[in-house]
């Protein structure tokens, strides 16, 4: 039984609208501290010029604006993954923020063991 593309698109739009509404209800109930944090969560971003310079220093040639946008975006997601993991570690060890280097290092160790951190330096040899 195939769902027509048009119906699928409508359904997706309805789900998006629901999401937006739910978010509005949530945000409207935030304390001031939560609002501050949420604003930082949304607005913080890597400076495009610095990212562009970094990529170009590696490639030796220029890159498009879209590449900078994409790389900045996934880098922020990456930061989120590390910080969330570190907060987890911090809590498990019965400690509190601010996050310490030992939390960050342990977070990286865990993410690496789940292959969530790219690393081409260390080659895994499966069979020899």
């Amino acid at each position: 039984m195939k769902v027509e593309p048009e119906k699928k698109k409508e359904k997706r739009q309805k789900v998006d609208e629901d999401e937006i509404q739910k978010m509005q209800v949530l945000v409207s109930s935030f304390s001031e501290e939560q609002l501050n944090r949420y604003e930082m969560y949304r607005r913080s971003a890597f400076p495009k010029a610095a990212i562009k310079r970094l990529i170009q220093s590696i490639t030796g040639s220029s890159v498009s604006q879209n590449v900078v946008i994409a790389m900045s975006g996934i880098s922020k997601v990456f930061v989120g993954e590390v910080v969330e993991e570190a907060l987890d570690v911090c809590e498990k060890w019965g400690e509190t923020p601010p996050l310490q280097p030992k939390h960050m290092r342990e977070a990286v160790r865990r993410l690496k063991s789940r292959d969530q951190i790219p690393n081409t330096k260390h080659k895994t040899i499966l069979f020899h």
Binding site: Y38, P47, M71, H103
Partner: protein, 124 residues
Amino acid sequence: MAEEEDDAGFEDDVDDGGNGADGGHGKRKRLFSKELRCMMYGFGDDQNPYTESVDILEDLVIEFITEMTHKAMSIGRQGRVQVEDIVFLIRKDPRKFARVKDLLTMNEELKRARKAFDEANYGS
């Protein structure tokens, strides 16, 4: 299972970063301290993250971008980094994949909106 070399940036296990002591990648100038602090707070850290932790994160981000760039250069058009390459590399990571798609879509919409605005004001 133990890695032979420590990760770059974690050369010493001493927690105090120290001002003179080289605790990271070398005396590279910090590129994103301000932005990273805001990001860490946004993602759940204290409003004032420890500088040593920010530095570690910066090294991680630079390593991440460096890895991605090298990988992108080795696929598709060699020696070049194109969006399609990044999208391909990230295809198995649902969060990053969705994020890139969203960002690129939003950018297209913004460009279209700006263009329509300009034409409305200055076009025929």
